[in-house]
Symmetry: C2
Subunit: 383 residues, 2 copies
C-alpha cells in the first residue's frame, strides 16, 4: 500500500488538471505522528528546481509533517516567480491541514521551463486534503507518475514495524539521482539523527546506481519520513536493511519502466581496485550510446564495452580485461574470447560482467538500452 502501509500516515491522489491527459496529478502525504522525523536527498544538479530549493530548507531541521507532489510541471528554471509559487504551494497545504508551511516538503515533476497553473494547483490541494485517508497510498502513487506506464510502490515488513514507499521516474534517470520523486514512510521509532544516515547509505547503493540515460534531473527528491506510530524501535541495522530493500525494489522498478527501453542491463564491474573505480567504469559503460544501441539490436558487441572502459581513469591493464555477457565470456585477457554468437540477448534482462583484475571491489549499476522508442518519446515530449 505504498506510503500508507506504515501506521501514522494518510495520503491522497487527485486530478487538478495540470496534465492535459486529465489523469491524477496532485498527491498529498501527511505524517500524523507521534514522531515527525525526516531525512531527504536531492539532485546534485546545480540548476535545481524551485521545489528542491524550498524542500532542502524544510528538511534541514529534521522535521517534516507533510509532502505535496505534483506531476504536470517541474517548476524548474522558472526564476523568482517559480520560487514564490512553490512557497505558496506549501502555504496552501498548511492552510488546509492546519500544519506549518515550514514543515511541508514540495515536489514537482514534468516539463522544465514553464510556470505552474497555480489556480488549478490550489484547487487540487483543497480536494487532496479532503480525500486524505489511511489507505490513500495507491492513489498518491498514481498521481505522481509522468511518462511512467504504471505506478511504483514497495512495502517491507519489519518486526512490528513497516517501511513503505512510492516512486515515479522514467526519463532523465541518472545518478545522483534519477528524475524521480520518491517518498518512503516508516512507523518505526527512530532517532532523528539516525534517519539521515539510514537514507544516505540506502540511496548510495540503490538510486545512485541506476543510470537509464545519463541525464541528470533538476527535481530529484527522495524523502523518508518516520511517524513512530508502531511504538517499536528497531535496531539501526534492521531499519537500514529494510529501507535499502525498499529503495532497491523501487529503483529496479524505475529501470524496468524507463522510457522506451527494451532491455534492463545490470553492469557488474568486478575485481576493481576501489569502489570509485568500479563505479566510474560501470557508469562509462552505462552512458555509452553505441553499447546501448547494440543491446537494443541484440548484438553482443563487446568491443564497445572495452572502448568505454578505456575512457576511464580506473586502475587496469588492457591485456587483463575480461567481459562476459549473459554468462558467455566473449573477451578474455583483453582479447577475443568465446564466440560472440553464443550470447542470447532475446530476454528483457541482460547481465554484463567486466573484470578489471585490479582488486577486490564489485559494483553493479543498472541501465537500459537505447531504442527507437526512447528517441520517439524524447523528441516529442513537449510538442
Amino acid at each position: 500500500m505504498s506510503v500508507t502501509a506504515a501506521q501514522g500516515f494518510r495520503a491522497s491522489g487527485v486530478t487538478a488538471g495540470l496534465k492535459p491527459s486529465g489523469k491524477p496529478d496532485v498527491a498529498l502525504v501527511v505524517n500524523d505522528g507521534p514522531d515527525h522525523h525526516a531525512a531527504a536527498v536531492f539532485t546534485s544538479n546545480r540548476v535545481c528546481a524551485a521545489p528542491v530549493t524550498w524542500s532542502k530548507q524544510v528538511v534541514s531541521d529534521g522535521r517534516v509533517d507533510a509532502v505535496v507532489l505534483n506531476s504536470g510541471g517541474a517548476n524548474a528554471i522558472t526564476g523568482g516567480q517559480g520560487f514564490l509559487d512553490t512557497h505558496r504551494t506549501a502555504e496552501l497545504v498548511a492552510e488546509v491541514t492546519g500544519l506549518s508551511a515550514g514543515d511541508v516538503v514540495v515536489c514537482s515533476t514534468g516539463l522544465i521551463g514553464e510556470l505552474l497553473p497555480m489556480p488549478k494547483l490550489s484547487a487540487g490541494i483543497q480536494v487532496a486534503a479532503q480525500k486524505l485517508t489511511a489507505d490513500g497510498g495507491a492513489a498518491a502513487a498514481e498521481a505522481i507518475i509522468t511518462t511512467d506506464t504504471h505506478a511504483k510502490t514497495s512495502v517491507v515488513q519489519g518486526d512490528g514495524w513497516v517501511v513503505g514507499g512510492m516512486a515515479k521516474g522514467a526519463g532523465m534517470l541518472a545518478p545522483a539521482l534519477a528524475t524521480m520523486l520518491v517518498v518512503i514512510t516508516t512507523d518505526a521509532v527512530v532517532d532523528d539523527e539516525v534517519l539521515d544516515g539510514v537514507l544516505r547509505s540506502a540511496t548510495h547503493v540503490t538510486f545512485d546506481r541506476i543510470d537509464s540515460d545519463g541525464c541528470q534531473s533538476t527535481n530529484d527528491t527522495v524523502l523518508l519520513m518516520a511517524s513512530g506510530a508502531s511504538g517499536v524501535r528497531p535496531t539501526t541495522d534492521a531499519l537500514a536493511t529494510a529501507v535499502t530493500q525498499c529503495c532497491a525494489d523501487l529503483a529496479r522498478q524505475l529501470i524496468g519502466d524507463a522510457e522506451g527501453a527494451a532491455h534492463d542491463i545490470a553492469i557488474e564491474v568486478r575485481t576493481a581496485a576501489s569502489e570509485a573505480d568500479a563505479l566510474e567504469v560501470a557508469r562509462a559503460i552505462a552512458r555509452n550510446n553505441l553499447f546501448k544501441c547494440a543491446i537494443f539490436g541484440r548484438d553482443p558487441n563487446w568491443g564497445r564495452v572495452l572502448a568505454a572502459v578505456g575512457t576511464t581513469k580506473a586502475a587496469f591493464v588492457p591485456e587483463q580485461l575480461a567481459v562476459s555477457m549473459n554468462g558467455v565470456q566473449v573477451c578474455r585477457d583483453g582479447g577475443v574470447g568465446d564466440d560472440r554468437s553464443l550470447v542470447d540477448l532475446s530476454g528483457r534482462e541482460v547481465h554484463l560482467a567486466v573484470d578489471l583484475n585490479a582488486g577486490a571491489e564489485t559494483v553493479t549499476v543498472w541501465t537500459n538500452d537505447l531504442t527507437h522508442d526512447y528517441v520517439h518519446e524524447n523528441s516529442a515530449y513537449s510538442t
Copy 2:
C-alpha cells in the same frame, strides 16, 4: 585532390575484399620527399588498437615515409596476434615499396574485436603499391570510409605550397578524438619540431571540438606529413593557419555526415571564466541524449540545455544563465525568456548559444542530434 594535392606524395585506393560490400578498403599514401617529416595525434582511449600502439612508435622519431590504411576491420582488442598482424602489415608495405617498416604508419577502422584477414590484406597491399600515383588522393579517400556516406577531402592553398587532407569517421565521434582516420599532407618546407606544434594546435580547436555521440574510439589517428617538395618555407603562423583550416574543414564534414544525424548543432558557450569551463559545459550539452532527441524532434526544449549545464563544475550562477536557439533568446537570467515557439529548427544546422556570464572565454563544439537512424545503424552494425 586530397592527400596528393601537395607535391611529393603518391596515393592509391583499392579493393582487398575486407568489406563484405566489395567496396575499396585499402589505401596507401607515400611521401617521396625530399623531406619526410611527420607528426601525429592519437586516441587517448586507454584501450587502443594495435595499429595505434605501432604507429605511436613509428612517429616518435618524427619521420614517416608511408601510411597504409584499411577499412573493414579495426584490429582493436585483438591481443598479441593483432599486434603481430599490424607489424606484418608495415613489413608488407616496406617490401613492396622499398621503404623501412619502421617508417610506415598503419591505420585500421571497422568492427572491434575481430582479427584481420591477413591474406586478403596482403594481396591488397601489393595492388595498392602498384597503383600509387600522384593523383591517387581521391581513390585513397574513398578506400578509408566505413559508414560514411561519402569521402571527405580538403585542400588549402598556401603561397607556393599546399595543405591537403582526407578523413573518415561517422560514428564513435568524440574528443579526443573522433572515430576517425585523418591524413594531411603538405609540400611546405618545415622543420621537424615545428610540425608537431602545428598539428596539436590545429586538432585542439577542430577535431577535439566535435562530439557526435560521446563515444571515444580505440583507433583515432591524425597524421600530418611534410615532403618539402614545393621548396617554399612558409612562416609557422601561415602553415598553422592552413593546417587548422584544413582540419576544421574535415571536422565539419565529419559532423555533417555523422551516422543517422538529421541536424548539425553548433554549441557556442560564451562568457565563460576559462576555456576549460566553456569546453566542459559544451561537452555536457553535446552528450545530453534528451537535448539531442529534442533537436531531432525540432523541439526547442531549452530546459534540457540548462539541466545539462547544471551537471558541470564550471563557474556560473544559475540566475545569470542565458540560452539562445537559432537567434531566439529562450532563456534569460536563468528563467523563461522569449516564446520558444519562435525557434525554427527545420534547417539542418542549429546554433545554440549559452552565456555563463562568468568571464570572457568562448568555445564552440559541434555535435549532432539523436535520431531513429542513429539507433538503427548502431543496433545493426555487426549483425
